[in-house]
Symmetry: C2
Subunit: 231 residues, 2 copies
DNA sequence: GCAATAGTGTCTTTTAGACACTATCTG
DNA sequence: CAGATAGTGTCTAAAAGACACTATTGC
């Protein structure tokens, strides 16, 4: 099966990288951060943000991703969680490889993107061709976000620390891809102890000012879903 | 910070392994398969089942775990999913390492364990000390099983292909760690299209024989939970 | 006042939980 | 028939969804 038999029980370490699916909301759409690969393999092809682990400074794969995002997208701390690990002998032409993929969510305003034609923030529905199996990773990331958002505070990660209830409502609609009844949404968000009144108000050009809320806990999950039943 | 500076952007591949948290139900308890490590590091210490990737035969980390389980526990195909990847410079004394952990569920009857004092099937509530960060991995695995079981068919993976409704009911109770009302449970399982009548019956020593059901789909998730509200 | 968005109240249907009840087997 | 487990029916309370309604701003 192989031309150069290897000692079966010896340590063999595949190529090991980390990747991040960095998502944000812009213009009522879910968007993802891509960059053009400067070198082979897949030179010139769009890809997720990623890189190698630095053994001397990274305390884990999460920290490696944070460092890479800081260097490549000038990002502060944000919601970041491990997604899944992708592996196999063929996904990287250089050989057997492992990539630990992560899901990152940021408010658009906190994203400081360089003026660089090799950096792209694009709608997840209008993707260019991607390097490696990055299309699969991205699809899995969006599916995870959708699934988890139905019963968690995840979409609030796209908003600033203080936000209005209609803003939260809109974030859930964009992420879940469905219209949600404003009244039911408000009731659920408040009754579940998801958000608390900050005492402040916001008057952003619109007509009636809205109360500003904040999350009670940074990340929370619920038994009942925000999404409609037959979703 | 490091004594031997490394080229920061060069490929550096950590030690890479796969591990499996293999769970089953025996005697109304959740149990996990452990084995005693034959060599350093952690020689003689109990650990999860795991090993290295074989680049010439494994098509991915999942297949690597399947191969290792086949070799070490004589296991056929079973419910196996990726759990999470654990990493860092200190979890393995040999250096920066990555372990892709998996969650496996098997009916007890399908587990063929060798008569070997270095293989142990133990209650997850009564664990010996474990090597590496395997205790953390195991705790995460049980938490994932619990969480997912509340709104999925996962506990059915502990049963044979044909099972009675009371058996399914009991599996959910053991996994979730709570009493569930038999009537409500039955209604939910049937109304959601989770199981279908096989037409057969089982008369295992008890009094009234019970209908045998099978899953409609191998793995399914639901909006509503099987667990009680304030769980 | 009008337009527009923020926020409330309430009615109907569905679902959950509790639990009493019936059914079918073994001995 | 008694005991035990399998399975059904039904009542009540909570939650979801729909939607009419009121409130507060800018112009």
């Amino acid at each position: 099966m192989t031309e150069t038999p290897l000692p079966k029980d010896a340590a063999y370490n595949p190529i090991c990288t980390v990747d991040a699916v960095l998502l944000t909301i812009e213009g009522d759409c879910l968007k993802v951060l891509l960059h053009r690969r400067p070198k082979a393999p897949f030179e010139g092809c769009w890809a997720l943000v990623g890189g190698y682990i630095h053994r001397d400074e990274d305390q884990g794969v999460l920290e490696a991703v944070q460092r890479i995002l800081r260097d490549k997208a000038g990002l502060p701390a944000l919601h970041l969680e491990q997604l899944q690990t992708y592996s196999g002998p063929k996904r990287d032409p250089r050989g057997w490889s492992v990539s630990v993929a992560h899901l990152g969510l940021v408010p658009r305003a906190q994203l400081e993107l360089p003026q660089d034609p090799d950096v792209l923030l694009t709608d997840v529905e209008e993707l260019p061709e991607l390097a490696f199996d990055h299309r699969t990773i991205l699809d899995d990331a969006v599916a995870r976000l959708r699934g988890k958002s139905a019963y968690s505070t995840l979409p609030a990660s796209f908003l600033d620390a203080l936000f209005t209830l209609p803003e939260l409502h809109r974030a859930y609609e964009i992420v879940l891809g469905v219209k949600l009844d404003p009244s039911s949404f408000r009731r659920k968000a408040l009754d579940r102890g998801m958000i608390e009144d900050s005492g402040e108000m916001r008057t952003d050009g619109s007509r009636r000012p809205a109360k500003l809320y904040r999350l009670c806990a940074p990340a929370q999950t619920f038994d009942q879903t925000f999404a409609p039943q037959q979703w």
